[in-house]
């Protein structure tokens, strides 16, 4: 897969605040280690819904990484709760859902719950960093439609964010898509 991120590009994640929601102790440790390697210092690791809710009510976050499967599906409930919590300062924070054993239905559920991106586990540091950078570049608007709150799910013709090559042969950049009649109908954010 093409990297999507120039290896020589400088990035600064030192001031980024991340919440990890994952039940497995070692799963949290592994992801935390990767994030520390990226230079992220402010990592809040939560193992339960209650911890996660409490944290989002008290700390300004820049990114949430959550494994919904490990919490018997509760991670998805957390996501829906957060997107609908009108007074929560983290209501629109970017959310990456990460999951090992998952089905296509689970991927679609994560999209409909308001996730920005779904990443299949196991992932390498390179893949996780690519997804973080993808979200940093993502210019999709958010939508509040009552039943759905989150990033716009309609990606038809938009292609991957500017500067990224996409992950499939059919992915095009936005400049091309704007004038093409053959634009991709695929949402790269949901490709595993």
């Amino acid at each position: 897969m093409a990297t999507g991120v120039d290896p020589k590009r400088w990035i600064n994640l030192e001031r980024v605040s991340v919440m990890l929601l994952e039940q497995s102790d070692h799963g949290r440790k592994i992801t935390s280690q990767i994030l520390r390697g990226f230079g992220i210092r402010d990592i809040h690791a939560c193992r339960s819904m209650d911890e996660a809710r409490s944290l989002t009510n008290s700390v300004q976050l820049d990114l949430i990484i959550a494994d919904p499967g490990a919490l018997s599906g509760q991670g998805m409930d957390f996501l829906r709760w957060l997107r609908r919590s009108e007074k929560n300062v983290n209501r629109f924070v970017p959310i990456i859902l990460v999951s090992g054993h998952s089905t296509n239905a689970a991927v679609m559920l994560s999209r409909d719950a308001g996730a920005n991106f779904f990443v299949a586990k196991p992932f390498t540091p390179k893949v996780l960093l690519e997804r973080i950078m993808f979200i940093a570049r993502d210019k999709r608007p958010y939508v509040d439609a009552g039943k759905y709150v989150g990033p716009d799910r309609r990606w038809k013709g938009d292609g991957p964010p500017d500067g990224t090559p996409g992950r499939r042969g059919g992915d095009m950049n936005s400049e091309i898509d704007a004038v093409s009649e053959n634009s991709s109908n695929l949402n790269p954010a949901l490709h595993k």
Partner: protein
Amino acid sequence: MTVVRTFRPENRLAKAVDRPGGVTVADAISRATEQLEAVRAECMSALDAKIASIEALTSSVAFSSSGNDIRRVYDLANEILNEAGVFALVELSEAGRSLCDLTGGARKDAALDVRAIRVHVAAMKSLRRPEVHGDAATRAAVLEGLRQVTAKVAAKVAEA
């Protein structure tokens, strides 16, 4: 009628990434890989403990191949899938996935034959042995054996 509101909230992540300083993407990935290596030994022990937990759970006479017990096996298998894969233990990760496939389906269908889980435990334990870990052909054979077991179970479920 539902009013749909479209807006662009502040992306603090995007602003943070472009601050002066930091590291190159290549260095960030390299450092993250080093950070992972620092916990490899601990994670390997944890993987062995998870395999042992599944074995203990399924060895108990009280084990129920439906409900909470099978959910626990599924969760442990999922953790093995995830955590072995990060450290490039591809076959062990795939064995975890196979056990997830097996037990994930069992939650919806009839009670599962516990012997199929035990075969997975035996395979995982063998994949952790140094002589198997260092032999790609043997690892592939172990995984193929698991695929056959899972296919047989799936065929039985389909017949039922």
